[in-house]
Structures are given as C-alpha cells and as structure tokens.
Symmetry: C2
C-alpha cells in the first residue's frame, strides 16, 4: 500500500513555514463537509469511483485481438486520452518500443512532423488504431482520425474499419455515430467521467492490456486505496490529509506551486498526468495550484537550486520507491580516487534512495515544506493506487476551494477562435476578431 | 532569424496587467549597466560567448570514428550534460532510435531499472560511451561511469578505453586524471563555462555530430543572434527586451512563473533545457522565476485552463514555428458531420498555427500577458539561435536581479548529506544528521 509521510509539512519539524496540528485540527469541519459530498456522490462526475468495479472482459477481448493481429498500436487522443495511456506505458513497460510488440505510438498533438515520422515508422497494414475522444469532436483527435481513416481505407479498403477501436461516449457524439454507421469496435467512456479522471476507464485499460498489463491489477490497487481513503477521520485518511495540507499551504502560506517529483525515470509521465488533473481541476475563478512535473535525481541538477533558495512559493511532493526490482552494484575500481571511491560497493538503489532522503532533509532544514509518498514497488497494483489516490485528492481539494473540479470553462475561448480561423460555420465573428488582433500586434515585433 | 513579438505584454494591448512603454523606458539605465557587464566580459563565466568561434575539427573527427565504428552511442551525464544533448537530439532527429544508427541513449539518473533496460538493449561490443562531467566527480555520472567502465573492461579488455570519450575540464578533476592515465579520447569543457551554459561546447556538439548534425550550423546561428543581441539600444535588442519584460512582470506584477510553450513536439526537450538554465541561474537569495516546461497544442488540454482562469502569477512564452518542413492535408470525408467537416481541406500546419494564435489571443483577452518567439523552421541554424539567445537572456536577467547567474550554492547541502549516507570520508557528521532526522519523522506517517 502507498504511504504518505507529511512530517516536513509540520511546524514542529520545519518551523514557521510549517502547519500546526491545531490549524489542521480546526479545518476538520471543512473536510467533513467534503467527505459527505464524496460519500453521498453529490456530484455525478464522482462516477470515476464506479470504474473500480467495472467488468474488464470486453477490454481483454479486444486487446487480445489487437495483440494477435497487429504489430503496431497507434493511439489518437489528447489531454487525458493521451496522458493516461502514456503514464501506464512508461511506468509499466519502459523502453517498450525497442523491445516489445505491438509497439505503441501516441499521436496527441497536430504537429505534422510527428505524424509524418510515425507514418514512416509503422506499417499501416499491420496497425490497429485506438481513437480516444469522449465528446467525439476534439479538433486535434478528429483531424488525425480523419487522416488515418483515409489512409487505412486506401490500403485496406473495406477491411479498414476492423482496425479501428473507438473509445468514446456510449451514446452521443460524432465518433459514436461513426462507430454505429461503419461498425467499428468500441469501448465506452462513461458519460459522467471527465477526461482527466478517465485513466481507469477503457481509455487507459485498453492500452494497458495491449502491452500485457492485467487491468484488473490496476483496479484492485485502486479499490484498496479507495477503501483506505473512505475513512471519515481526517488524521487517518491520506487523501484528505494530502488535500488539506496543500490547500492550507496555499491559503495560509502563499505556496501555490506543487512540485511532483518521483524518483524513477518511468514515473515522469505519471507526474505529467497528475499535472493535467491538478491544473485543470483546480485552476479557475482566480484560484488554483500550479503542479510542476519533475523527476529525481535528475532535477536536483536542474530545479533544486530554485526550490532551495528561490521564492517561498512551493511545496515539493516526493514519490519514493522502496524496491526498483532491478539493481546494479557500483564496482570497486579507481581505488585511489577519493572523489569516486566512496561509491564503490554501494548499489544504484542505495544511491538513489540516499539522494531522495537527502533532498527531503535539505529542503526541510531550509524550512521548505515537502512531503513524501512511498510506493513499495512499481507495478500495476501500486500504479492503480496512485491514479485513484490523486483523483480522489483532486476532487476533494476542488471541494475545499469551492470550485467545480470537473469542468474546464477557460479553454472555450481559444477553441472558438480556432473554429473561426478554420472556417467552422457559425464562428465567422471569431475569425474577424483574430484578424483585427493581428493588425494591432505588428508594432511590437523585433 | 528568430523574432520576438511582445505586444501581449503591453498595457496598450492587454490593459492593466500589461507594462507601459514609459516604465520600460525608465528601466533603460539598469539594462545599460547589464549591457556593459556583458560587453566588457566582467564575469569570467561569460566565456560561453567565446564558444561561438570554436574550432570544431576535433569534434568532427571523434564523431566520425564513433559513427563508423559503433552502433550505439551512450551518453552518461546529468543536468546540462544531459539536457543539452537531448534538446539537440529531439529537435533535430526526432524518433532517432527507431530509424537511425548509431542509436543514442542518455543515462542521466541513477535509476537502476533504466540502466538495466539500456544494457539489455545495446551490445556493448559495438557501443561508444561519452561520459560528460565538467568537474569529473558528479556522483550520478561517476556511478554510471564506474559501472560501464567495469562492464566494458570485462568485454573488451584492454580495448575498452578506446570506446570512451570524456568531455570534461581540460586540466582538473578525476575524470581528466583517468583520461591521462588510461589514454581516453577527450574533449574540453572550458573551465569558465558552467554546465547549463555548455550546450554549444563539445558537451552538445559531439552528440550533434554523432547524429549527423553539422555543429558549425548551430554555431553560425548562435553567432548571428549574438550580433543582433549586441545592440546596446534596449528597444532594438530582443534579448534585453525579453529579460526586462520578465523581470518587470515579476517585480511589478508578481508574475513569477514563466511558461515556455513551443508548438512542436520535438521542442519539448528544448523547453526542459531552458527550464534548468532559468531556474538554476536566477533562483537564489530568495528571488527567482519558475520556468514551466510545456508543449502546444498538447498542454491546451492540460494546463491552459489554469493559465486562463487560475491565479495571476504567470507569463506564457510561445515558440511558434513558421514552417514544419512536412505537412499533411486533412481529407474531405464525413461530409455531413458538422463537428468534423470544417477541418477538411486544411493542413495540420494550418491547424496548429491557428491553435497557437488563438491561444495567444484568448490569453491576451483575459488580460493574461504572453509573448511569442517565432522561428522560421526547425533546423540546426535556428536551434543554435535559440540556445544562445536564452543563455544571453539568462545572464542579463541575473544581472538585473543582482544575483550570480552562474553558481548554484543551494544544492550543496543535499550533496553533503548524500556523501554522509554513502560513507564518504569527512562526512560522518552528515550521516548522523540524516539518522537523527529519520527518528523524528516516524510520527507523521500514514
């Protein structure tokens, strides 16, 4: 089970920049209120919790077909539809494409250079394509889907539709309509599950199964942490403590940046997945926390200087791994070199663990708050725990801020302007606004 | 030539959150002072400017040997020694390892799982190893170097040293000592060039040449932007404007987060390279700016909500690409679907450009400051410009903050604690401090 150590958030340990037990105790009422909202499912979007008991047999069926029939697996999706699958892929099958089949490509952006590269690397004849869009009309995903649909038709003719799997709303939207008309295989994103809370739906579980990960293990981990986090008592609930501490660090200590630093290369993408969840869910109505994606030890040589001596605006969240599964011993060579020989005889695991602990402590001694999640080992069970833990924490923290953690109204304006420029019907005025803005801008160019 | 458009930083365009021409004008004295410091090279660390006229023939020689003799190229380095090479690799040879030889692996962390994976993927008999450490005693790089040295000796015996290229201080340090004793090939990191300013030294140029990039093109680009940025007049100098604007946005508008969002997948690593440079150079003495690594359009579906409606603490810096080199047309299919058919007939380049422009404008209309660097095309010449431009800007901005942009005193404490835990001589007291801290922590664990 993952564990939370929050000693270095507390006044007792780090002094005036920390929080007092009394202050947290006094916040109990707010947390109980949020607890009620979750327990009673007062928001329909809390449906992400229902994913934990889903039946995965259809996902497994489709994945088996993909594994048997194709050599490459191309995912078209953006936002949660790309970040979730990538977090799973990188954590549970690092360097996948250099050693396993089917290779997995995720095309999320609309960068033409990337798509050209992918198309030159894969053989479409032997490729399955998973198009993931809950609404079915995400511009980026629609564009790449239309290109791939056309290409596959040219190559496979009437067999092309068999190679597509759509993960989308069970009833609504353009993509569902195409599923029905063309007879595509499909999997549902439950209507009330927002994109960034969808990693444990078929959005993440199908890619997991395709690369050979048992999706039931992800769900089992999620169920276990859910039980632990169903505890109403604040001091016994790691999710409620996590959210409360970060909320208070913002509102009372002006710390609005939350650095997420797992000490494992393979968890970098999970850190990026968390960043979407945290940023998009909480950042509205003028409030919000800025999550910062990071990886240790690497960023000790990039960002740590700023965290140690820069502005007092951050909380650092470590993810520590107890057992990396693999290990390598540093040999006893260069014996007369004092700058190197102290490393001899230690393992890389010992070194990375020592660096993580040292960085926690160095921050604490500089009175910089930080906390640590410990995971016993990087496997599907514990990755499932992390996913669900962070989703629960995000919903809760949204309730503490009194914002809706499930919407994203702030991205509409940009979308509408894009529609205008691309000539979508009804958006002619938006196009004009862009053109007017262009005129104005010329003066400040160098 | 890269260009800077800073209209959306100005009061005239975005209202009260913008800066006035008068305020910038009044700041002229400070910039002139910083200009003098750069022009007269008052800091020896401005030696990174001298890199632009270096002779690359030895780099080219060594790279040719590597290309001819080996199939895999393994880089051992961390911080600037990894971020610089990776920025070049990803920008100028995306998906390199799936299509070209020698494949390039960068082992920066001390994650045992990653090294096991790399060792299972490469054939050491056909591998060249570039160990990069200016000081020659960086713990992470030393650990991996010792492991690889031992492995290569086992496999190649006395021929092993021939496969190592050390990029390090020309005279000092353990690595230089090993070069001299074992007869390794080596390239210099000039003594006054700090790691994060070293991408245009052999640190970045050797990997560039190994993957077939002409290092002289990187340098030519850097020289051209250096000339443009040698202009003493603030309003004509894009580097001085860039630094001044971000400095004033912090000190007068409390915007301490600088988001770097290139609209190209292949520039994500360049954005991460910038983040080290900016964070480590400016974050000290309680001041500093937090750089945020991002990529468009992807992060419109992850971070944009927060930038649009969250706290007023950010400036967004776009990097726009005029010509992606490749392009793909979105076909005319699904004609009766209004949610999709507006895309038909456009190219991906048009869509990504429209999204970039729309996002700039949406932010500006929400009175959120942003500016845009435009690069004509992603090639070595323009990547060289970006590198040098950001290095110049960083030095200048450090002078504006009156901090030393070339040191990183804040990371020493963590290193010393690690030495203690690893049993390095002279650090016994540090080990004790860690042990004492452990005792204290137990109480806040859940």
């Amino acid at each position: 089970m993952i564990e939370l150590n929050f000693s270095n958030m507390m006044e007792e340990v780090i002094g005036k920049n920390g929080l007092s037990e009394r202050r947290i105790e006094g916040f109990r009422g707010r947390v109980e209120d949020a607890h009620e909202q979750i327990k009673d499912r007062r928001w329909p979007e809390l449906a992400f919790i229902d994913l934990l008991s889903q039946d995965t047999s259809e996902i497994k069926n489709i994945a088996r077909h993909i594994r048997e029939e194709t050599e490459d697996f191309l995912i078209l999706g953006i936002g949660g539809s790309a970040l979730g699958p990538r977090a799973i892929l990188d954590a549970l099958s690092p360097f996948h494409n250099l050693q396993k089949k089917p290779r997995v490509f995720i095309y999320e952006n609309v960068d033409p250079r990337t798509l050209k590269q992918i198309l030159s690397l894969i053989d479409l004849k032997k490729t399955s394509i998973n198009v993931i869009s809950k609404s079915g009309s995400t511009a980026e995903t629609a564009a790449s889907f239309m290109i791939l649909w056309d290409e596959m038709k040219k190559i496979l003719g009437n067999d092309a539709p068999k190679r597509f799997i759509a993960t989308t709303d069970p009833e609504k939207g353009n993509l569902r309509k195409i599923v029905n008309e063309e007879g595509l295989k499909s999997l549902p994103v439950p209507p009330n599950v927002a994109g960034r809370y969808s990693v444990l739906s078929p959005v993440g579980l199908l890619p997991a199964e395709v690369i050979g990960i048992d999706s039931n293990e992800l769900l089992r981990g999620a169920r276990d942490i859910h039980e632990k986090c169903s505890e109403p008592e604040l001091w016994k609930n790691p999710a409620y403590l996590f959210g409360t501490l970060l909320y208070l660090m913002d509102t009372e200590k002006k710390r609005k940046i939350n650095v997420m630093i797992p000490y494992a290369d393979s968890l970098k993408s999970l850190s990026e997945w968390f960043c979407q969840l945290w940023a998009e869910s909480l950042g509205k109505l003028g409030v919000g926390l800025t999550p910062y994606p990071s990886v240790g030890t690497t960023d000790q040589h990039s960002q740590l200087q700023l965290w140690m001596e820069g502005p007092q605006d951050k909380v650092v969240i470590f993810i520590r791994v107890d057992d990396y599964g693999d290990d390598i011993k540093i040999p006893r060579i260069f014996k007369d070199m004092e700058g190197l020989n102290y490393l001899s005889g230690h393992t890389l695991s010992e070194l990375i663990a020592a660096e993580e602990e040292s960085t926690e402590l160095a921050l604490a001694r500089a009175e910089r708050p930080n906390m640590t999640i410990t995971m016993p080992v990087i496997n599907a069970y514990h990755i499932g725990q992390l996913f669900h833990f962070f989703e629960l924490v995000t919903a809760l923290t949204g309730f503490l801020y009194r914002v809706n953690p499930f919407n994203q109204p702030g991205v509409e304006e940009g979308k509408n302007l894009t529609y205008g420029m691309m000539g979508k019907k009804g958006y002619e005025a938006k196009r004009k606004e862009v053109e007017e803005a262009r005129e104005k801008k010329i003066c400040w160019r160098i």
